[in-house]
């Protein structure tokens, strides 16, 4: 285990902790998350989350315990998913899939506006989806440089990774309403 800063004498503050994958023993938890042993310490029900889920989703993975505010603690971070062995990678990827539930939009079929809502129909990574979005500025945000993330009325997330890759009609349909 390496730290960026040396702890001050008498302090429990450890600074940012990067974990050495070779020292990690990961097993699937039967109930939730994964169990991780580092040296003598075993952490149960560990979850994984990304520091850069948009710009670099394969790097800087935080391993955490406790699900509620106040209880949550970071065990440490893994710099790169590539550093892990195949078994560890699978477990971490599974945990990441559990954390992030997103739809990637492959094709926009229609976008219509009615009574302050935009009604979308799109082919997505999770199949054909119809969803409604409040027609407000903060419901469609930038995603990386050329992408957009759309939050529907239930806060489900739909991603267009690159607007430039939409065909001209889809682009026109989208930017007619989402001009920002």
């Amino acid at each position: 285990m390496e730290t960026l800063e040396s702890p001050k004498e008498g302090s429990t503050y450890k600074g940012l902790v990067f974990l050495d994958p070779k020292t990690l023993v990961m097993t699937e938890s039967p109930l939730a998350g994964i169990n991780i042993t580092i040296g003598d310490a075993t952490y149960e029900e560990v979850r994984a989350s990304l520091a850069l889920p948009i710009s670099d989703p394969e790097k800087y993975i935080s391993l955490r315990i406790g699900a509620t505010k106040g209880e949550e603690q970071e065990i440490g971070m893994i710099r790169d998913l590539a550093e892990l062995d195949e078994g560890q990678k699978q477990l971490i990827r599974r945990e990441l899939r559990k954390r992030y539930f997103m739809h990637v939009i492959y094709k926009l079929i229609s976008v219509k506006e009615k009574f302050g809502f935009l009604y979308f129909e799109a082919e997505t990574s999770k199949g054909l989806q119809k969803f409604a979005v409040r027609y407000e500025y903060n419901r469609v945000q930038e995603y990386s440089e050329f992408g957009r993330v759309i939050l529907d009325t239930d806060d489900n997330r739909y991603i267009i990774p690159d607007l430039r890759k939409l065909d001209p009609d889809e682009y026109k349909m989208f930017t007619r309403y989402i001009y920002w």
Binding site: L31, A32, E44, E45, P53, A67, T68, K69, G70, R94, R97, K98, R99, Y100, F101, M102, F115, G116, F117, K126, G127, A132, R134, T153, D154, D155, N156, R157, T175, R176, Y177, Y179, W180
Partner: protein, 767 residues
């Protein structure tokens, strides 16, 4: 739904496993697998188990099942875009099911119901539990918030009727305005008729045709009737113009008068009603939305009233009157005039749907560039200090390019659209000149050159209002929705009703008793559970506990911001439900973490609860609150004007003003809710000194995270999960070595910054 009928396959599986339909307490579908793929799954809660059923290759199985006897609690574990229903089994949280955010509301309720079942052994599903959030209960249309008005179901005629009734006190004004609108439209019809007269009777008069002017006018105008008639018609035209302008001014002034009077009344009624509504109402409605109702929606109504007289009515009436006039002049030619009308309507629709939205992009690009300029120029020292000039220039160029392309798109669209629309509008004129011109040449229908020019003049007044009518429906809907939102607030009854036999509490001793009080902001999720405590007059009580343990709710209930669900709260042995609301609050002084000061002078803020207090008492209160000295250092002393939220003072100073306010109020019961937690240590010490004076001989309830501030309390209440888990003096609780003891230990270890005690010790050492 919380008790959703199970599909036959799943129901059959339950039957095979000896679960009868009546044993199912809760059943709801979830939409995704643990891996995040869409698939149908069912969560079923029975008296004996919580399970998740799924179907694989046509075979139903229980993918997860936990015996109810082993379940300690249930909760939701929200993730990004989805969440998990979890149950606590033998100290560990186990995942039961994963759901997308679309189903979150149902699983929130399922978790609450399981917890309630563990406490009471029963599951009660109310009508409220089965309601979908943010959907119109009638048509299912999505709404912005659960309390929003459905634009599809709004009964426009009722809202309109109510608006008209609201105008009742101003009916002479409204009737006068309406009469003038009609007169104005009548005047609009005159000039083309005068121009016709000018053409036919003056410029190209047929000597065989008799004068249209009466004999008596000709007698007056004498020997050269043509010239004189010219002057008369010309004077008539000028007169109509002047009259029309005069009328326009009067109509506008009248409608503004009526509009502002009605919106003033509405604003007054709205604010009065909002002040009466309970705190619970404010929990359900965002302050921003309510502010929008008081300012934005009333303003929209003002717009509606003024537009009605100047825009809508004219747009509706003018095409009708002109259409009738044209028909009367020549029915056949009028039908030709109508040929471009559909194009006018289509082109207006096209403008609003395709051309106008391009302005959004332009405005957005423009405001982004302004925002960027503002931030970079204001922070130019940072830019220079980090040598980021090149980077900022590149960023500016990118925004500037966006603005350029947005502007180009707008200008290209408008430079094509407007000439085409101009042509469509002109098409009517061409048709009239062509067809009408032939009528004149062929002398058909007695059609004169004057009639032809009158026809073309009317055309100009016909197409404009027609194009405006295309969007009148959506304008009306937005006005009606605004009106309905206002009426909804006006129709909301205050939830805390005063009993007819409410007692007055003239002299309060400050004795408080909570008897088996249970309360939840949502009925199925109590945050105060069966709390009983007796507080003696003059006692100082400290309340500690984690965030969400129920501390603030405890004092909210005492102030009667909410009604308890079960049990009762007594002040001086009288249930607060039987006391006048004002009497309860008059005897309670509240000092909050965020001192809420209003725009006004320091004096007005201290005397907020007792506006009649004389300046000496205000100063005495300020002195006791350790505020007098800093107030006297201000250039304008007690007359210092404070901005909104007390801007102009530091956090500690604002807090001391709020303590002075509480002290001047002289309540029998004082509540301090984290009164010192957001100020620096030096200010905290001054506030603590002030509080020592204020709390003397007064029943005081103090909530604090910094336990050191509660050390002098007569008793300390430790709350957890809505219950009182420990109660006693500091020494007793320390001896108990329970939760309080642990909290004190943690804080002693954590606190490295100077504390009040440390400051006091340092001060003592200096002496």
């Amino acid at each position: 739904m919380l008790r959703q009928p199970l599909p036959p396959k799943f129901a059959a599986w339950l039957a095979e496993h000896n679960v009868r339909p009546e044993d199912v307490l809760l059943s709801t579908s979830n939409d995704i697998s643990f891996e995040g793929e869409y698939s149908e799954r069912w969560v079923v809660v029975t008296r004996d188990a919580v399970m998740m059923l799924k179907e694989t290759d046509g075979v139903v199985e229980a993918a997860r099942s936990f015996p109810m006897s082993e379940i300690e609690a249930a909760r939701l574990d929200p993730r990004v875009g989805s969440g998990f229903l979890q149950v606590k089994v033998r100290g560990h949280w186990a995942e039961v099911a994963r759901f997308s955010n679309a189903r979150a509301i149902w699983f929130e309720r399922i978790a609450a119901k399981i917890n309630r079942f563990k406490e009471t052994g029963a599951v009660i599903i109310t009508e409220e539990d089965e309601k979908e959030r943010n959907r119109c209960p009638t048509c299912g249309l999505l709404l912005r918030s659960a309390t929003d008005i459905c634009p599809r179901c709004i009964k426009k005629h009722r809202v309109f009727g109510r608006l008209v009734r609201m105008m009742k006190p101003y009916w002479p004004w409204a009737a006068g305005t309406l009469a003038l609108v009609f007169t104005g439209i009548g005047l609009d019809l005159i000039p083309p008729q005068l121009s016709r007269m000018l053409m036919d009777d003056v410029f190209v008069r047929d000597p065989n045709r008799p004068y249209l002017t009466p004999e008596w006018i000709r007698n007056i105008i004498g020997t050269n009737p043509v010239t004189m008639l010219f002057w008369v018609v010309f004077a008539g035209m000028a007169g109509v113009q002047v009259l029309r302008i005069g009328l326009n001014i009067i109509i506008a002034r009248l409608s503004v008068t009526v509009g502002t009077k009605i919106t003033f009344d509405l604003r007054h009624k709205l604010f009065a009603r909002l002040s009466e509504l309970s705190v619970k109402y404010y929990d359900r409605h965002q302050v921003g939305i309510l502010m929008q109702r008081v300012s934005g929606d009333t303003e929209a109504l003002h717009g509606f009233i003024t537009q009605s007289t100047q825009g809508f009515l004219v747009n509706i009436l003018l095409p009708v009157f002109i259409g009738a006039t044209l028909l009367k002049m020549n029915a056949e030619l009028t039908l030709y005039v109508l040929i471009p009308a559909p194009f006018v309507i289509v082109s207006t629709y096209y403008f609003w749907e395709h051309v106008y939205p391009r302005y959004y992009k332009y405005w957005d690009s423009s405001s982004k560039m302004s925002a960027m300029l503002n931030s970079v120029l204001s922070g130019i020292r940072v830019v220079k200090a980090f040598s980021q000039e090149e980077h900022e220039i590149a960023r500016f160029d990118k925004l500037s390019t966006n603005l350029q392309s947005a502007r180009r798109r707008v200008d290209k669209a408008t430079s094509t659209f407007y000439p085409i629309v101009g042509f469509i509008f002109g098409l009517g004129g061409l048709i009239v000149w062509f067809v009408g011109g032939r009528y004149v040449l062929e002398q058909r229908y007695g059609f004169t050159l004057g009639t032809l020019t009158a026809f073309t003049s009317y055309l100009g007044m016909f197409y404009g209002p027609l194009s405006n009518l295309t969007y009148i429906s959506s304008w009306l809907t937005s006005f009606m929705t605004a009106a309905q939102r206002i009426f909804e607030v006006l129709d909301t009854e205050p939830e805390i009703e005063e009993s007819d036999k409410a007692y007055h509490l003239h002299i309060c001793r400050g004795e408080i008793e909570f008897k088996n009080v249970t309360f939840g902001y949502d009925r199925y999720n109590p945050v105060i559970r069966d709390v009983s405590v007796h507080i003696h007059p003059g006692e100082m009580i400290g309340i500690v506990g984690r965030s969400g343990s129920g501390k603030t709710t405890f004092v909210n209930l005492l102030c009667r911001f909410y009604e308890v669900d079960q049990g009762g709260i007594f002040i001086d042995n009288i249930n607060i439900k039987d006391l006048h609301k004002d009497d309860v609050r008059r005897n309670i002084g509240l000092v909050l973490q965020e001192p809420f000061l209003f725009r006004g002078t320091v004096r007005e803020n201290i005397a907020y609860g007792r506006p009649d207090a004389d300046i000496e008492n205000v100063m005495r209160a300020a002195k006791a609150a350790n505020a007098h000295d800093f107030i006297m250092r201000l250039p304008d002393g007690y007359d210092t004007k404070l901005g909104e939220y007390g801007s102009g003072l530091s956090g500690g100073e604002r807090q001391r003003v709020s303590i002075a306010r509480a002290l001047l109020y002289d309540p029998a019961i004082l509540i301090l809710d984290e009164a010192t937690s957001s100020v620096d240590t030096e200010s905290e010490k001054q506030i603590q000194d002030a509080l020592a004076v204020v709390t003397k001989d007064r029943t005081t309830i103090a909530i604090a995270h910094r336990l050191s501030t509660l050390r002098n309390s007569d008793r300390i209440i430790v709350m957890d999960d809505g219950r009182i888990i420990e109660i006693g003096t500091h020494a007793e609780l320390m001896a108990l070595e329970g939760t309080y003891y642990k909290l004190v230990k943690i804080q002693t270890q954590l606190t490295s910054e100077p504390t009040v005690e440390r400051l006091q010790l340092e001060a003592a050492a200096r002496k």
